[in-house]
């Protein structure tokens, strides 16, 4: 069988090399070599595995325009889960070597400990990981990462960002918007019972806090894109990090609002945090900012600030925010994003 050598250089200049067989995408080839690259959907929908093509022949399967817009494709960007080598291939990754895992993704069991309606048709789900031979009771992950959760009967699996920080009690907190037709949502709103055992596969993902430096940070969240931002902000508070930071959080309708208590608590524990909550289609009762988080971002960047920007929410919001940031002169290397799609 024809194999090609893939050389994927991480942002910090460390090459990862592995073989890719004919008909095999780059993410799968790396995984076969126990090199677990940041990726979520692995079917061209989410854009989590974006990288840049450097040299070598390849072909690229169809993918969501939201995950890889035409202009990004024109710049030589690819989705690794849709990239197939036709020769030896050199690629450049937008993440550091330390965010590549060389161990199988942990698979654990967790007990449903708490499930609360927090408004806006959103629930806070708290799981407690069962004691595990390899990991004990610890919940170890980077702020911003996600896990795949499977319902007790194993019939439905969905990826959700973790909203809390690594801890030794095995607690995992999620903010989940209940989708009208969503299968996992149906489980949560219908059958879920305290004590249920769910399968947890993770942590995974390369959308994580960029740790070095003192540059200001701007967190832009649409809907439950708030979850990874809370994780990052909570970690900043735990570590006593002094970076100036702003949270721009938006929802579509006033009735969709949730998490205001969490944001207030964040402000109390992270004194330098500035927040703006926006509602796009505001009603008469809404007294706060009207618009999208992208509008708020544009306003912030108009002051000349060039922060690290973290984006999480629907693809359209991410694309608009990325464009706004680039237009304002924020270097592409300072923009980090994770798209989520309603499932």
């Amino acid at each position: 069988m024809t194999t090609h050598r893939i050389t994927l250089t991480t942002r910090d200049g460390q090459p990862l090399e592995f073989d890719c067989e004919a008909g095999e995408d780059v993410i799968s080839a790396a995984a076969r070599a126990t090199i677990l690259l940041p990726a979520i959907c692995k079917n061209g929908s989410c854009g989590a595995c974006r990288a840049s093509h450097v040299s070598g022949a390849h072909h690229h399967d169809d993918c969501s325009q939201a995950a890889l817009p035409a202009e990004a494709r024109a710049r030589g960007e690819v989705l690794l889960c849709r990239t197939y080598a036709d020769s030896d291939l050199k690629l450049q990754a937008p993440f550091d070597h330390s965010h590549v895992s060389f161990q199988p993704i942990p698979e654990r069991q967790a007990k449903l400990s708490q499930l609360d309606d927090i408004g806006g048709n959103t629930v806070r789900l708290i799981l407690t990981l069962e004691e595990d031979e390899q990991y004990g009771t610890s919940a170890e992950f980077e702020p911003g990462q996600y896990v795949e959760l499977s319902t007790p009967d194993g019939s439905v699996t969905r990826a959700y960002s973790i909203a809390n920080t690594a801890n030794w009690e095995g607690k995992l907190e999620f903010l989940i918007h209940l989708q009208p037709q969503g299968k996992f949502s149906s489980y949560l709103s219908g059958q879920a019972t305290i004590g249920d055992l769910l399968k947890v596969r993770g942590p995974q993902g390369g959308f994580v806090l960029q740790d070095n430096g003192t540059r200001p940070r701007c967190f832009v969240a649409g809907g439950t894109g708030l979850a990874p931002m809370l994780s990052m902000l909570r970690r900043m508070a735990e570590f006593g990090e002094m970076n100036a930071c702003t949270l721009l959080f938006g929802v579509t309708r006033h009735a969709d609002l949730f998490g205001l208590d969490d944001i207030a608590a964040m402000q109390a524990s992270l004194p330098q945090l500035q927040t703006e909550v926006t509602v796009w289609q505001a009603d008469a009762d809404w007294q706060g900012s009207v618009g999208t988080p992208v509008d708020a971002l544009q306003k912030l960047l108009a002051t000349g600030l060039k922060p690290d920007i973290y984006l999480c929410g629907p693809p359209a919001m991410i694309d608009a925010a990325e464009q706004a940031a680039l237009t304002a002169g924020v270097p592409a290397g300072q923009i980090f994003s994770e798209r989520f799609l309603p499932t």
């Binding site: 330390s98 060389f102 610890s138 170890e140 992950f141 570590f239």
Partner: protein, 554 residues
């Protein structure tokens, strides 16, 4: 960035030094540049601190801040750019306060205060980007065009030696031991470097003077260690794990080990040493804790493999830290001068998170097959059997001593030290210190008339013990240390080894075999000086070097 302070610095045909986006140690360019700027700011602190001391008004805040801050710039200690930004600001604020104090003290003494320039007048930029621009002008090669390569090489020899001194000062301070003589030496060295000296003779003398300061520093640290924990005793220590929850303590800071032992007593948690913490197992006050279970892991450069396999929290009390892998990133903790971005740093010596992690993590499931080594041959133990040693030498049973000391590193060339140890003849004794021994300290070497053929003296700072032993033997044989049947085989990696090296030179000890490579900051001219004046010999092959040592002794 440009950094060539350690042995593993990039060496290419274009010249030596790390100048890419990331150094060989994993330090990124911003952190490296900020370290240069911090050292520049600290020279300014030194300028005022030295003058205040001369006026009889030494500054306690300076003596607390400087050793810690300098230590953070040592290889494999701190990689956190944010921490350096903060320390640069703190250094400038301290310097401002010292300036005011100095002007007041001078006036009180009826003197006109000097108007100091250079680092003394440094004002840090408001943010990191601005600091990085400032750093470009104060790197370790700054002024080379006018001062020449040799002067720059010697300035850096002093600067790097000073980093080693400050590391030892910091450790002694942790146990409450301080010395005005040592502080004066540190402040003087910073003040001297702030003048951008160019005279080669003066620079050489200052380097040797720093070696003398380091001797006093190691003596102080020896007093701190033995005063706090007792005199090391020959001790058989386990080097394989036993079943149960576990904490791993790495680095050099015995005080942290003591604190963790105290906090975990009766908890069922076992505590293991790693790397340079190993000698802690031989100190009576530390080994009295029954849950100090032994040593875990090998050389520091193997830590990513060893730490990944350790089923509990890992505590880094000092160097050498290398980039924590994702598999243990959440359960490694840094203390004191150590730091890595995104890794939990414990301030204020609160170790409760470590204990919490140890309870949550699985620990070792079962006992590993037992393996032990014997350590703890510091000066009192060796001198306690001095009569046997002297008799052994006189009778010919002990033909020669080899002091194999210094640091370890990842380069394959360091196999020299393993091969050297394995090839030493059966009628010779090896003394080891520092972390270089991890390559060969689990070997079976036997004994000579009850004296083990491998005697481990301890950490790299226990070079002090080696010097005392050599001096006492020289007295007994009525000769100089250089005339003893003793060969010093020194491996260097980071800057504490440079401080020890300067001490050996300052004591007039000659014919040291130095490797695995000569420091990149030493120019050919400077190497010639070391060869001509001190008989420094770059290592050859173990066979040739052992043969030459024995021939010379015969």
């Amino acid at each position: 960035m440009f950094c060539y302070q350690c042995e593993q610095t990039n060496r290419s045909e274009a010249g030596a030094g790390c100048s890419a986006a990331k150094g060989a140690c994993g330090k990124d360019a911003a952190t490296s540049d900020l370290q240069d700027l911090l050292l520049h700011a600290l020279k300014g602190v030194g300028q005022y601190a030295a003058r205040l001391r001369a006026l009889g008004a030494p500054d306690k805040e300076a003596t607390d801040f400087v050793p810690h801050a300098v230590f953070t710039t040592l290889t494999n200690v701190n990689f956190s750019a944010a921490r350096f930004v903060q320390m640069i600001q703190e250094a400038a604020a301290l310097r401002d306060r010292l300036k005011t104090r100095y002007e007041e003290a001078a006036q009180k003494a009826g003197q006109t205060a000097e108007k100091l320039a250079g680092p003394a007048a440094f004002q840090p930029a408001a943010d990191m980007d601005g600091m990085l621009k400032q750093a470009a002008a104060v790197g370790v090669l700054a002024g080379q065009d006018s001062a020449g390569e040799d002067a720059i090489g010697l300035r850096n020899l002093i600067l790097y030696g000073l980093k080693g001194v400050c590391a030892y000062v910091y450790h002694a301070q942790a146990m409450g031991y301080e010395s005005d003589e040592v502080f004066a030496g540190v402040e003087h060295a910073l003040d001297f470097l702030a003048t951008d000296p160019t005279d080669i003779g003066t620079l050489l003398n200052e380097a040797l003077a720093l070696g003398t300061v380091n001797f006093s520093t190691m003596q102080l640290l020896d007093a701190a260690n033995t005063g706090s924990f007792g005199t090391p005793e020959p001790t058989s220590v386990r080097v394989t794990p036993i079943a149960g929850k576990a904490i791993l303590v790495s680095g050099h800071e015995f005080k942290d080990l003591l604190n963790i032992l105290e906090l975990t007593k009766d908890s069922g948690i076992k505590v293991y040493t790693h790397g340079e913490m190993l000698p802690g197992l031989a100190y009576p006050k530390l080994k009295a804790y029954p849950h100090l279970a032994g040593n875990y892991g090998g050389a520091w450069q193997d830590q990513q493999k060893d730490f990944a396999a350790f089923p509990g929290p890992i505590v880094m009390t000092s160097n050498c830290l290398i980039e924590p892998a994702p598999s243990y990133r959440q359960r490694i903790f840094t203390l004191g001068p150590v730091g890595w971005p995104g890794v939990r740093h414990l301030d204020g010596k609160d170790y409760s998170a470590v204990v919490q992690a140890a309870k949550a993590l699985p620990g070792f499931k079962e006992d590993a097959p037992e393996q032990r080594i014997t350590i703890g041959f510091a000066r009192d133990t060796v001198l306690g059997v001095a009569d046997k040693v002297i008799e052994g030498v006189r009778s010919g049973a002990i033909r020669h001593f080899f002091l194999i000391g210094g640091c370890d590193g990842a380069l394959p060339g360091r196999n020299y030290y393993t091969d050297f140890a394995e090839q030493t003849p059966a009628d010779t004794v090896m003394l080891t210190l520092g972390c270089g021994k991890y390559r060969f300290n689990k070997g079976e070497y036997g004994d000579i008339g009850g004296i083990p053929r491998l005697l481990d003296l301890g950490q790299c700072s226990d070079a002090y013990s080696a010097i005392v032993i050599a001096s006492e033997l020289a007295k007994a044989f009525n000769c100089s240390v250089n005339e003893l049947p003793l060969t010093l085989v020194i491996s260097w990696f980071e800057q504490k080894a440079i401080a020890v090296f300067l001490t050996l030179l300052s004591l007039g000890i000659k014919n040291i075999r130095l490797g695995p490579t000569i420091a990149a900051f030493l120019t050919p001219n400077l190497v010639n000086v070391l060869v001509e004046q001190f008989g420094i010999q770059p290592i050859n092959t173990p066979e040739a070097d052992i043969a030459a040592s024995l021939k010379k002794a015969a």
